[in-house]
Subunit: 195 residues, 2 copies
DNA sequence: CCGCTCATGTAACTGGTTACATGATTTA
DNA sequence: TAAATCATGTAACCAGTTACATGAGCGG
């Protein structure tokens, strides 16, 4: 029936429409824009075509109403859209969805031997520092909004915090390793010349 | 000088070339294909144009040699490529790089009230189960290869394991919450009808 | 000489980004 | 009434995916 598997952004859009009963492109943009994650973008250039696409696939129904010289489009979940959404929230989760996520810091870690020991240390320290900032921001956000959040939003945020905590701990583990390991810049410098 | 910030895949390519001294598109593909993460793809359609692009920007130098009727292209890091690579591995890390990662399970968690309590439970149980499988796979992989890995590869893998452990713990926390919270299907069914 | 792996590509497509453009409504 | 915010879009571009196509070298 439906060929292409929907993207996460598309599914998230369906979920927002379902949660709110109905939604406009603008509402969806605001929702996405409020996210603390850089993964979600609220650019008009992605949202407007996306909703048209979902309507084209029959997952959303559009209701238009005049609005000055323009047209206001409000979307509701169709029956087949509901089905897609339920599938998204039901086992089995796709294989890739439960693996480790993509972490730019971790990727760089694999290649850290390409720079000098002192640069490594600075890199890891910086990473820990900045992750700590994100962590604090998340904790404050959760503390401040706790009362107005649904249990699911709270659990979700706790997940993000747990992930950040794990990363800080890991980076401290790396730092400890760096301090204990042999490695002085002069030794590196010699070998680096050769390459 | 250089307008567009390079993608992570491009930077990773530079790093692989630097690590190996020189590399062909095929070597890079194999490297990417071996990754346990679904983030990295080894499709020819991305790799070959990517290396051409990097050469066009002056970050890689190509050395061609005849190979039957075809041409073999081997890439080495140029001086400016080395500079870009060092920037990648030096503070300050970009803001987005140190935030929480994109986690498909967590995203779904925010919308879990759209399905019934029993479906929620099944979803979370499935997620925990599958994350556990990934975790075990990673632990085995690390145990098996530890001897042949560089310290950086080991630390990187430990980071992935730490992240997966944190997710399992979080999902168990969610599960405990589900068990303790009120929530029976009949109650949900009634309110779900209305929407 | 057959099949496998090593190896090199191309073409069509697509989802998302960036940058631009503008109308309607509310608030100070 | 001016500025801010709410709201709706478009067009050019681009990285990466999917699917296809094929040559080289080697072991049985």
């Amino acid at each position: 029936m439906t060929k292409s598997t929907p993207t996460e952004l598309e599914l998230c859009a369906l979920a927002v429409v379902a949660r709110d009963g109905e939604a406009t492109a603008y509402r969806l943009r605001r929702f996405l824009g409020r996210s603390l994650s850089s993964y979600w973008s609220d650019s008009a250039g992605s949202i407007y075509p996306l909703l048209e696409r979902l309507e084209g696939r029959g997952w959303l129904e559009v209701r238009t109403s005049p609005w000055g010289t323009r047209i206001r489009r409000s979307y509701r979940l169709s029956r087949s859209g509901r089905r897609v959404l339920r599938g998204w929230l039901s086992p089995p989760l796709p294989e890739e969805a439960t693996g480790h996520t993509y972490d730019p810091v971790r990727t760089r870690m694999f290649f850290l031997d390409l720079v000098s020991p002192s640069e490594r240390r600075e890199f890891v320290r910086d990473a820990r520092e900045r992750t700590g900032v994100h962590l604090r921001r998340h904790r404050e956000d959760l503390a401040g909004k706790r009362a107005e959040l649904t249990p699911w939003a709270i659990l979700g945020r706790e997940g993000a915090i747990a992930e950040l905590e794990a990363r800080v701990k890991w980076l401290e583990h790396v730092l400890a390793h760096l301090d204990s390991a042999v490695g002085n810049d002069s030794g590196y410098a010699r070998s680096a010349q050769k390459d």
